[in-house]
Assembly symmetry: C2
Homo-oligomer: 724 residues x 2
């Protein structure tokens, strides 16, 4: 593995292709680098000039006075591989390649050059960022090998005068967007540490940089912009490492929609992939999704300011000096999924003594302008935060003038230090720079959007809850050990499509579906005898690997009595033959109809990036009209399965609903855990599993598997796979 530290923390840097023409990118990059007080040595390398921007230039990396740690390449694409080779020979251990013209180009030539670049880097074990990167900035080292105008010293200082506690790093596949995070966070007093734009990721991926920065241990919050994930397993490992360390990953995954995906595919070599799958992975690993710059910067500000002080729940105390603004914040909290409960009597009494007659302590606490003038914001926030009924405090302020906050500073600082609960500030007026500074200095995040403020608090509560759940040891104990040998043997022997009759025994080896329900019959008489022997009406289903969608083919008959079984047998067989004249039919499965209950769809689909994902959906109409399903990678433990169910919009259907008793979610969760284990064990062998529907009966009465289908993964021609 190449050493990323050589890339991010070089002592000597060669800029290959440097020019004195600062109108062009080759001149701009050196100009930007020289504008900052980087302590290391910068060598311009130029074939044509002996001096660049007043510095002695060298004609090759081989001719430098000493070896460079890092080479910055900004030369035409066709010379890059050759130059990288030269760097390797000269002992350069890292390179950032800003040249474009590689895999992002249509045609084969660029892709071939990128392959050659990768091979060269591997040969010399070089840490390479790019190609098609916009460079990076190591702000802690004042090193900015990039032509981004955002990093020019004229755009402002690299660090705010009084930064909010902690540091944030950006890793972005898009150059422009990566540096825009830095640019747009100006005025929020964030201390950025690294900004890396990874371009085509021929060698080093987002996950590699993330992993290296986690090892470095100095970044507290990460802002990631992803077009794709090159090596899914690596991303998942890095995300887990971040979660364990309590360093939030705030991620914008662009290309979520069909036109967005189209654009990603066209402008880079990346394939955006299914967003549902990405979302499943993010939610599973505690990755926080952001949709826009401001939202993501709000999240970074919140997490940085609060550090480990995350809300233990969703109950907020709101205090305000402006009645209307307090109402708006209370609305925003509820809209973001937070609660604003009435405060307890003791807290109210402690507040009431400070309120004029037109104030109120109920929550929102309207301390009124008069109350705040007397006591300050901090004291009311402290009183509200003491309530055992709140997990965090939202303080509505007007930060247009700083004088008042300045007076309140000692109390604000004391509260920021002593409070065990997060305290957020929202200003409804345009804040002055000094006000932002004062509040940030005292340790508070300041928001200008009420919704952004509330959403950030909500994300912090979710992050804490998820982290606590995910870091708890998995509860797998209650599942009986599967008979893996039996399942593997059956699966290996089976045809590519396992219809219910073949799927059930395989699933049963994992405890799924209990004993195989029903019987396979081969004649009308046998069907009748079987149906008559059953306590409930029967279902008759044609079994054939060639007819995976039996219902659409008319090859299923439901609610059949013993009297009707003969006719039904003939009917479903005839329909099957009409539908697929050449189908090989195994027989007709005769089963008792399941007793009533809530209908659930369970399935597993193998995502080309992320492998098998368990899917759960509730009720036919909810799934089909609203697409109300939730996905997660496998395996899942009980808590994970329960959390997945909770993500369904229609989750209420499983509770006491329309007069029916609560459904047996314990049994459903158990089934999900078993199915997820099965899917994980055959991650590469199985393409698809459908248990549709599963009927969930009343609490204590278990579930009925009404149908089952397994489709094995087919090896595909390499050509096809690449286009996937």
């Amino acid at each position: 593995m190449p050493d990323i530290a050589k890339l991010l923390w070089p002592k000597t840097v060669a800029v290959v292709g440097a020019s004195s023409d600062t109108k062009g990118l080759r001149g701009r990059i050196l100009e930007v680098m020289l504008s900052h007080p980087y302590a290391g040595t910068i060598y311009p390398v130029s074939r044509s000039a002996t001096e660049v921007q007043g510095r002695k230039a060298y004609c090759s990396v081989a001719e430098l006075p000493g070896p460079a740690d890092l080479a910055v390449l900004i030369i035409p694409a066709e010379f890059v591989v050759e130059e990288l080779e030269r760097c390797g020979r000269a002992g350069v251990k890292a390179a950032v390649i800003l040249s474009s013209g590689f895999a992002e180009e249509p045609g084969e030539a660029g892709t071939r050059m990128q392959e050659a670049l990768r091979a060269t880097a591997a040969r010399y074990d070089m840490a390479v960022c790019g190609p098609n990167s916009e460079g990076f900035a190591n702000i802690a080292a004042a090193l900015c090998p990039t032509f981004s105008p955002a990093m020019d010293v004229s755009a402002g200082p690299l660090l705010p005068k009084r930064p909010l506690g902690g540091q944030v790093s950006v890793i972005s596949q898009s150059g422009g967007l990566g540096f825009a995070f830095f640019d747009r966070a100006r005025g929020r007093n964030l201390a950025f540490r690294h900004i890396v734009t990874t371009g085509n990721e021929a060698v080093l991926e987002t996950s590699d940089f993330l992993d290296a920065m986690l090892d470095e241990g100095k970044t507290d919050v990460y802002l990631l912009l992803l077009e794709d994930v090159k090596t899914p397993a690596k991303f998942r490992r890095a995300a887990d490492k971040a979660l364990k360390a309590g360093k939030p990953l705030i991620v914008a995954k662009i290309g979520q929609t069909e036109p967005g995906r189209r654009a990603v595919a066209s402008h880079t070599a990346a394939l955006a992939g299914s967003h549902a799958a990405y979302r499943a992975i993010f939610q599973h690993h505690g990755v926080i999704e952001g949709r826009d710059f401001d939202e993501m910067i709000d999240l970074a500000v919140g997490f940085l300011a609060c550090g480990k002080k995350l809300p233990a729940g969703k109950r907020m105390g709101v205090c305000t000096s402006s009645g209307g603004a307090g109402v708006w914040m209370a609305d925003a909290c509820v809209r973001a999924g937070l609660e604003v409960p009435m405060l307890d009597d003791a807290t109210r009494k402690a507040i009431d003594v400070h309120l004029p007659s037109y104030g109120t302590s109920q929550n929102p606490v309207d301390s009124t302008a008069q109350g705040v003038h007397k006591l300050g914001y901090a004291e009311f926030a402290r009183l509200v935060g003491q309530s055992p009924l709140v997990d965090g405090v939202m303080v509505v302020v007007t930060a247009r003038r700083s004088a008042f906050l300045e007076n309140d500073l000692p109390k604000l600082q004391a509260l920021g230090r002593d409070s065990k609960k997060p305290v957020f500030m929202w200003t409804y007026t345009l804040p002055s720079d000094r006000s932002v500074e004062i509040l940030n200095e005292a340790g508070y995040p300041l928001f200008t959007g009420a919704l952004g403020c509330a959403r950030t608090m909500r994300a912090m509560a979710d992050y804490r809850a998820l982290r606590e759940r995910l870091l708890r040891p998995a509860e797998m104990h209650s599942i009986p050990a599967p008979d893996r040998a039996a399942a593997r043997a059956m699966l290996a022997a089976a045809a590519p499509v396992l219809c219910e009759w073949h799927a059930r025994p395989v699933l049963a080896a994992y405890g799924i579906g209990g004993n195989t329900a029903g019987q396979l019959v081969h004649s009308a008489a046998e069907a009748e005898a079987t149906a008559r022997a059953m306590a409930r009406p029967a279902a008759l289903k044609v079994q054939s690997a060639d007819i995976p969608h039996k219902t659409e083919a008319g090859a299923v008959a439901l609610n059949i009595s013993g009297d009707g079984a003969r006719a039904a047998y003939e009917r479903v067989l005839a329909a099957a033959k009409r539908h697929a004249p050449h189908a090989r039919i195994d027989g007709v499965l005769v089963q008792p109809m399941a007793p009533p209950g809530r209908e659930v769809i369970l399935g597993v689909n193998r995502d080309p990036n992320w492998g098998p994902l368990l899917m759960v959906g509730l009720g036919g109409v909810l799934v089909e009209a609203l697409g109300d399903v939730a996905l997660a990678p496998v395996p899942l433990d009980h808590a994970g399965a329960r959390a997945l169910l909770g993500r369904l919009k229609g989750a209420a259907v499983l509770g006491a609903f329309r007069g029916a008793p609560p459904a047996d979610t314990d049994a459903l969760v158990e089934l999900m855990v078993q199915l997820s284990l099965f899917a994980a064990d055959y991650a590469d062998e199985i393409a698809e599993i459908d248990l549709n529907p599963v009927i969930v009966h009343a609490k204590g009465q278990g579930v009925s598997l009404v149908d089952a289908l397994i489709v094995k993964q087919q090896p595909r021609p390499a050509q096809h796979r690449a286009a996937e």
Copy 2:
């Protein structure tokens, strides 16, 4: 009706309570007023001083050199009524009352003073704003009778150097939030006209100001902040007037949630009311809801910049010089409900000639940095806008430096002038002030948030579509005229609760439910005979005004054959008697079971503010698990009813769904129109109507009314009503 022009456009203003102490509110207000070049005359009125802030002060409004048009009162609450009386006698025709201590105070005294104030204003026909107002600003006249720090000249000029075309006015019940709109829109180059903070609205309401400004005709977009609506009919009239004039109302209704409502009730005299009802009214009248300052300001910027140039549909062309940013914008568009279709071949050909090999014309059009440097933003936007497949253009720019835009200005101006479609600009970098100016000057709105940009475009498309629909003459023609006399007589004669047997004939007079289905029986034998005579299985339902919820009482039996009718009759009667021993039972209704179809809930509820609202919801599970219902005021025409159905999340259920043919939405829409007409005709007599469920059969096969209930409006004691 008092003359609001005297309030907003006075030639002479008396400031009663003015002081030289500019640390207090009484001094600040005069200081703020004097800091602007108001052309009229300002008289300080003071009991104690003969000179205030260097101006001659008068001891009373009666002593002024000439009569004042407007009196600004900032004196203790207990002197306000007396002072208003004095103003009235002195011929002052308008007053703005900044004093607080009226109905927003707990207890009776403040409310009584507010009543007296209202009476005094009425006696002299004075236009009164407040009390508990933060004043107003007439920016066109440079008149700012307010102590809001946002309006102090030190906070910046009242108008931007180069405003975006058109003017925006703010009407806000909250003082702080009202002026914050102005404050927070700095840097967006909006020309504000009026900012009015209405306080307790003892005399003039938000709707009155809105109406007056609409008559004035100079405001193009309105930003409203509502805690409540005092006179619903007035608001609806003003909203209609705005819609007809094409002047968008962008409204934040605060107190939408339970804690928010609690806070509204406590800090002002307002009652926030049900937000579902407000939303129904807003949607019906084309009022655009905003959730946060930034969102509302984005909307104002979009509407102002585009004027009448609203998108004819939701299809957007996206052009970008940054691949990643274009992807993000495409995602944002789709997320906001817009479309980003592939462009047509002719347009693509015209674009392709300008693109380097790594650009693409598909949409998003990635014109690349190189392409944009050659051709500029405007030319690509023009080419994209020419496509017949797009209704608007989203241009992704980097506005951090203005030089490039400056060069592109002539083309930008030409496009801004000539384009028939709206063109929006989104900058992913932090824009410089000059860049904003250039783009605004050329007629473009500039957004910093991709989501805000997309949402604004979506709102503009919706506004145009809604406006076109609402301004079309109503299509009532196809409904047969109701027999109003018959319905009125039946309703008058009926008990307070009309169970199905009584409700059906009343509804039938409006063509609802066709002939009364089923028959009322009074013995088991009669039940059997009736059930036997039916072609389908029967439903038996106990009819009693005392048992409106029959199913929960067990007083309904479904799917009963002739054989089972006797037992079912006895069973439902027994259950009814157990449930309500003293219920007066009319008999048992025996009806044929409705054939299958999609289940719909139709209802009417009388909102205490807004009167009867028609409610529609789809499918039992969808309504109950997700609360998926839509509301509208009555009556509705066919297009309105259809639009209401379209608002349901699960609307797809009515199409071809799960193998079933499309439902008979024409029949459902007809029923909704009829029911809405009925509800409108008895707006004051009926509290509630439930048609639950209505079964909608396949297209052409109509609907079945399975149950019906009407609850008459009961006159309530006045005491109770006030607390509603």
